[in-house]
Amino acid sequence: MVQYIQVNDYETAEFDGEWVVLNTDKYTVTKLNEIGGFCWSMMKDAQTVDSLCQAIEQEFGRASDNLSEDIEAFLYELMEYGLIQHAV
């Protein structure tokens, strides 16, 4: 199973259930919704798509029928922004 982990413990700001992550290496900002912010904070430690889905369902209840597809797309985007990487 592919595992994902934060590239760095980047600075974040959380307001009213929304998150902003500042990539201090590239000086870019990314806004995340509540579930996105939850996933981001989980990825301090290595996570798989399945472990994230389980954690989300535990925390928020059943979120979507296509949860694992949504998470995959989300992880792909975070990789693009240089916020997460494959865990070795």
Binding site: N8, E11, A13, F15, D16, E18, W19, V20, L22, T24, D25, Y27, V29, K31
Partner: protein, 259 residues
């Protein structure tokens, strides 16, 4: 070498230079302080560097003991805490921009505050900032705010603590010169400007406020530690001060939405 002590924010800067022209620039644009008890920044200035302004691109080189900022028309060699610097400039414009670069680096490093690309006017003792992308109307809003006192027309000096956000009279002006006697004022609001056919003001969510302000800060990213400080200061800023989108007509009626 001639020396002057200048007031910038609540800091005192001692500048030394041989050029009478540049000394006159300081006397025109800055508040000169006689015998300041404490000196926060020591700046030595040399004229005759590089070429006239070509663009805003700044190269940053961090060494073991110094950090250098280089543009076609200026070079700053600063100590790592930015308390002392040697500045080489081509002309007055280069000097102004170099000092903005140095001062903004100094206040970020010391977690004091931010220099924000904006104008700022005072209404009944409270400061209101007008920012936005290039050409959005910062200086238009500033001139439409007269006779209110202006604390800045280009770069606002914003002191940020966990309890208070305060705006200081900015010597970094584009057109509307400071009288040099503007009193610091607490910041009540930030407006992101859009020219429009009617006035409208909408408050932004704090996350959107933060994202919109990131590129309004005069800051040349060169180290993760410093970028972290900018983020921390912006976080405190948007926690304490409401940020709005302001759609405004080119007259002074937008003030009805602010005060």
């Amino acid at each position: 070498m001639k020396e002057l002590q200048l007031q910038i924010g609540d800091h005192s800067a001692r500048v030394s230079c041989t050029s009478l022209n540049l000394m006159n620039f300081f006397k025109r644009q800055f508040t000169v302080k006689e015998n300041a008890a404490q000196v926060d920044l020591n700046i030595t200035i040399h004229e005759g560097y590089g070429n006239p302004f070509t663009n805003y691109e700044v190269r940053v080189l961090k060494g073991i003991k110094t950090v250098n900022f280089q543009r076609a028309d200026y070079l700053i060699e600063a100590s790592l805490d930015y308390k002392s610097a040697i500045v080489y400039v081509h002309d007055e414009l280069a000097l102004k921009h170099a000092l903005m670069n140095l001062y903004s680096s100094y206040i970020v490093y010391h977690n004091w505050g931010l220099l924000i690309h904006s104008s700022c006017a005072v209404e009944t003792g409270k400061a209101h900032i007008f920012s936005g992308h290039s050409g959005a109307g910062k200086s238009t809003a500033a001139s439409l705010s007269e006779p209110r006192e202006l604390l800045s027309d280009e770069a606002s000096i914003v002191k940020i603590t966990s309890d208070n956000v305060t705006i200081f009279d900015s010597p970094f002006r584009s057109e509307l010169n400071s009288e040099g006697n503007g009193q610091a004022a607490p910041l009540a609001s930030i407006q992101l400007l859009h020219q429009s056919i009617q006035n409208k003001r909408e408050q932004l969510k704090k996350t959107d406020a933060l994202i919109n302000l990131v590129d309004k800060v005069f800051y040349w990213a060169h180290s993760p530690e410093e970028s972290k400080k900018v983020m921390g200061l912006l976080k405190t800023l948007v926690s304490n001060v409401p940020v709005y989108e302001l759609y405004f007509k080119k007259d002074n009626t937008f003030w009805e939405l602010i005060s």
